[in-house]
């Protein structure tokens, strides 16, 4: 068999194949639900209800989507330039560290000055963290996949060290957690008494800004050119290495905002379980969005809905909530296959 590019992908296929990917994902999930001794329809209904069935559910889904928008954007930007940043998890944690370093009373400023200061510092830290692997890639030819992956483990241990050392809350009863951030550093809640916070607004704004950068600026054009064909881009006079550096700074900064927003908007302090793999899930979000920054918003809400819905379902139907991760991973694999099928035709022999 061989793959032939289609001259112009048909609209029917563009809709049909992704729909097929969703059906395939639901089929896989159904098998697992049945293996767990429950009825798929009941379980899917409970997931849907838990994700979007009430105001509480919707608010919870949007809250969970917030960090995923940031990490999804980080991955989308990097992958567009074929910079394989698998380290959004580490960049998220570094952003969170900066937030508690500056936000727990070391600096006292009014909110309108303090919050932007913390945001910029967090982005700066995340950007620097990805600059390392990007420099190693361009200067020494070290594969960034491995370095960013290994940095996830290094940074998590570093955070653990800080939480048991200099950042440890003396009032924390011995738990490895930081002090709570001061009131001026907290992001306001969007709805009184609900968990949804201003971080969601920042996430949407970041997606819009990223979209403008990717589609309307020279840098965005260069990033796409480098990702499409690095050799050709170099030949056309694009400074490939410099573009990769800028991509790394942007990507690392976006991922760090996830950590900032989780601490300043939701948790109030830093613990070792701040992120249940948001950095890795960001890869799924970015791919489902086909690396489109605006698509990231929808994909993040979709993925967050599955997680929130599965948590609620798991409490009532007794199917382990790990089903959510299985569905998300399956959706990733089926969706990349579907996207390929809309662009290529399979010729048997």
């Amino acid at each position: 068999m061989r793959l032939e590019p289609k001259p112009s992908p048909s609209i029917v296929h563009t809709l049909l194949y992704p729909a097929g990917a969703i059906v395939a994902t639901l089929l896989v999930a159904s098998l697992l639900v049945m293996a767990a001794g429950a009825s798929p329809f009941n379980v899917f209904w409970l997931v849907l209800k838990g994700a979007a069935g009430s105001q509480f559910a919707l608010v919870e889904t949007l809250t969970r989507a917030t960090p995923l928008i940031f990490t999804g954007l980080a991955v989308a930007v990097a992958f567009r330039a074929k910079l394989w940043n698998i380290g959004a998890e580490a960049q998220l944690y570094i952003g969170a560290v900066m937030t508690v370093v500056l936000g727990t009373g070391a600096v006292t400023l009014p909110s309108l000055a303090l919050i932007p200061l913390i945001m910029i510092s967090a982005m700066f830290a995340g950007a620097l963290l990805l600059l390392g692997p990007a420099l190693l890639k361009t200067r020494f030819g070290v594969d960034e996949v491995v370095t960013t992956l290994l940095l996830n483990f290094i940074i998590l241990l570093f955070v653990s060290m800080l939480l048991e050392g200099v950042l440890k809350d003396p009032m924390g009863l011995g738990w490895p957690q930081s002090k709570r951030i001061i009131a001026e550093a907290q992001l306001p809640r969007l709805i009184q008494g609900k968990r949804l916070h201003f971080g969601f607004v920042i996430a949407i704004a970041s997606a819009l800004v990223t979209w403008v950068i990717m589609k309307k600026t020279v840098l965005g054009y260069e990033m796409r050119a480098v990702g499409h064909n690095g050799e050709a881009a170099r030949f056309a006079g694009i400074p490939v290495n410099r573009v990769l550096m800028k991509t790394a700074l942007l990507s690392g900064g976006l991922a760090a905002l996830a950590g900032f927003s989780e601490v300043a908007g939701l948790k109030g302090n830093l613990t070792l379980d701040l992120s249940p793999g948001y950095g890795y899930t960001g890869i799924v979000v970015a791919m489902l969005a086909m690396l489109n920054p605006l698509g990231v918003i929808a994909a993040a809400i979709f993925v967050a809905g599955i997680f929130v819905g599965a948590d609620a379902m798991s409490r009532s139907a007794g199917v382990p909530s790990y089903i959510a991760q299985v569905m998300v991973a399956t959706a990733l694999l089926t969706m990349v296959t579907a996207i390929m099928l809309t662009r290529f035709r399979i010729r048997w022999r």
Binding site: M1, R2, L3, L32, A35, A36, G37, F79, W84, I86, L136, F140, G141, V142, D143, V145, V146, T147, L149, L150, L151, N152, F153, I154, L157, F158, S160, M161, E164, G165, Y280, I283, V284, M287, P320, Y322, I323, Q325, V326, V328, A329, T330, L332, L333, V336, T337, M340
Partner: protein, 313 residues
């Protein structure tokens, strides 16, 4: 100089070989995949699957070797999935690999939860026990380290020899290497590049899974979450460090493991002045430094990550 004396203790080297064993299996597995031209980032998840499948087969009443086979088959199944998606369908090997890791890991945890709903602490199995090889194990220092280990460690040594022999001395190995260097030459021989690559990914994934199973069936005797803990990613670094050669990769794995065993012992010597996290970081930092050291003269298989289309040049 206590920190230096540790290097001459038998227990350090016994531990080093024990730590190296799962890495040897998984590194050989990744090496086969990459030699055929396919990067397999599914390694971390496939090791998790292997760790669970091997342990669970024994827990369910199977023989220990049956557990090893169960792990290998489970690994090969995920290898088949990775192979089909990346070779004939030509999907991004990075994205697919990460997807396989996410899928394999979450599926394992899901199945663990439905298979053992009520357990609070993970059940234990009768794991592989050390088997002293007569005469050889009596050699001071090296003897107990190399020749008083479990049968799975001996299988790891054998795997290196077999992988090296197959790659360099058999037609199948030649086809695998050619598929990773110059796939059209394989096609010119009338051999299907797709079959060679998918086959290599399946075989490699089976080895990764056995590496995972070593943890639950030989190093420890039960399965717990997140037990692979980045070992798969380390193995990817070890393949680069070993410049895609089984012998060099073996040396790399043992050096890495010796360092890992050494840092654990060094923690006790320093007596808590340096935070323990610093020591735990060292193996990961060392991997990055090793990559930087070899990067300039690394010779990747030329067709690594290049999808092959029949009749295209």
């Amino acid at each position: 100089m206590e920190a230096f004396e540790i290097l001459f203790t038998t227990s350090l080297w016994v531990a080093a070989i024990r730590i190296a064993s799962p890495l040897i299996f998984a590194t050989m597995g990744e090496l086969i995949c990459e030699r055929a031209g396919v990067l397999n980032l599914g390694i971390e998840g496939i090791m998790t699957v292997g760790a669970f499948a091997g342990w669970f087969a024994v827990y369910a009443g199977g023989d220990l070797w049956f557990g090893v086979i169960a792990a290998a088959l489970a690994g090969a199944a995920f290898g088949l999935l990775h192979g089909v998606l990346t070779v004939p369908l030509g999907l991004s090997q990075h994205v697919t690999g990460i997807g396989i890791t996410l899928l394999a890991t979450s599926l394992t945890y899901f199945i663990y939860r439905i298979a053992l709903p009520e357990v609070t602490s993970p059940p234990k199995i009768e794991s592989f026990q050390p088997l002293a090889i007569p005469v050889l194990s009596d050699i001071p220092l090296v003897g107990p380290a190399l020749f008083n280990q479990t049968p799975l460690t001996y299988l790891a040594y054998a795997t290196v020899a077999i992988v090296a022999w197959v790659l360099y001395r058999t037609p199948a190995g030649l086809a695998v290497r050619a598929a990773g260097e110059n796939p059209s030459s394989v096609e010119a021989q009338g051999i299907s590049v797709t079959a060679v690559r998918v086959g290599a990914v399946m075989a490699g994934s089976a080895l990764m899974a056995i590496g995972g199973a070593f943890l639950t069936m030989s190093a420890f005797n039960s399965f717990f979450f997140e037990m692979i803990n980045g070992r798969g990613w380390i193995c990817i670094a070890l393949v680069v460090f070993g410049s895609w050669r089984p012998g060099k990769a073996l040396v790399g794995a043992i050096l890495f493991a010796a360092f890992d065993a050494y840092q654990v012992r060094l923690q006790q010597v320093t007596g808590g002045i340096v935070p323990y996290q610093v020591f735990l970081m060292l193996p990961y930092v060392l991997s990055i430094l090793a990559l930087i050291a070899v990067a300039r003269r690394a010779t990747y298989p030329k067709a690594l990550m290049v999808p092959y289309q029949k009749g295209e040049r």
